[in-house]
Amino acid sequence: MTAGQLTAVLPPADAGAPHDCLARNEWICGEYLSTRRQILWDAVVQHLQLTAVSVVIGLAVALPLAVAARRWRWAAGPVLGVTTVLYTIPSLAMFSLLLPVYGLSATLVVAGLVLYSLTLLVRNILAGLRAVPDETRQAARGMGYGPVRLLLAVELPLALPAAMAGLRIATVSAVSLVTVGAIVGYGGLGNLIYSGMNTYFKAQVLTASVLCVVIAIAADLVLLFAQRLLTPWTRAVRA
């Protein structure tokens, strides 16, 4: 924005503080970062907590579902069908449908995010389990592996790359969807976007939005790094 536009836009009362980007309601504002540090920090912490809790619970629910769908052929159809239907429901509607159960609470947001992450996680874990070669499974059985040990020591490690890919997508989606939780007051950075919208506060909306994307990318990179550490053999093959 040029100085000419500024004087045209601003009422005379604000002209006394030309260096205050908050008063001028600019998109990028260092003053906002320094004066609202605590609010931003709290929002980021809430955002991270909501994301982490829901992805961990989602993983804990998805893993047995995927294993069951792998073990019993008849279970695969219903499991995939239900999770796909859940994924089709728009986020705002999902949170709203949970309102009578959980009320205006953080639990509502977590429950909604868990239901969303299930589709991605179950599909990817199942794809990973199904991709385990039959020869590998037979070799393990021939070595005297029981069904539990076969699952834990052979099938799950081999399904890890596919599962981690699903986990990364689920986590990035969760970071983005947390913002919708603002409708019940538990949206992490979404709360700041929501209140910024109502007060036409540009710096707040842009800062919170950028932080959301930064969190999503950072979470993705952390999981990618974890995947590299957990599956050293995939790199050995490629090299």
Binding site: P90, A93, L99, S209
Partner: protein, 224 residues
Amino acid sequence: MTTLSHAWSWLTTSAHWHGENGIWHRLGEHLWLTALCLLLSCLIALPVALVLGHLGKGGALAVNLSNIGRAVPTFAVLVLLLLTPLGRHGEAPTIVALILFAVPPLLTNAYVGMREVDRDVVRAARGMGMTGSQMLWRVELPLALPLLLTGVRIAAVQLVATATLAALAGGGGLGRIITAGFNLASTPQVVAGAVLVAVFALLVEAIFEVAQRLAPAWARGGPS
């Protein structure tokens, strides 16, 4: 269960179906927004994807676009657009946001579909003396159609969801019933609106499911 029966009685009250804030009007807005933006984003994404796929260029962009789209919160984009000068033009921020989120799945799926066409088939077509555009229209496009249509389906479902969120940023559509319910602290209205949105989204998904099951019959009978 009492909430459900309250939601049901909210839905069956005929006064809630008519007028400016009525269900019919909101449903019409939602349908119109979804259909218009699906058409516009197809017009933007598909030619680009087909040309890039035919030339085999820009693959990294086409594939990564979906990942980028996932990392950017829809709600944030809606509000950001609302605060730009665009926000003064009625539904314009909603339409732009909807298109922004519908283009990545369309582009990625159409591009991947084009690239996954058997190279031997493409070489055979070239050997038969087909020109570039003949190959594109008669060989690559028909073979890429299933994945391309999957992209359209994903985009349509995404559009329904994004159009719902638009209500949070003051846009129209069925989401407005939900946000109005929150403002009135009326759980029955919130649930009733959510049921309407969920049914609408599942119907769109079902229509594409049926269309996709019928499609291969005529797609296979085509020039491929």
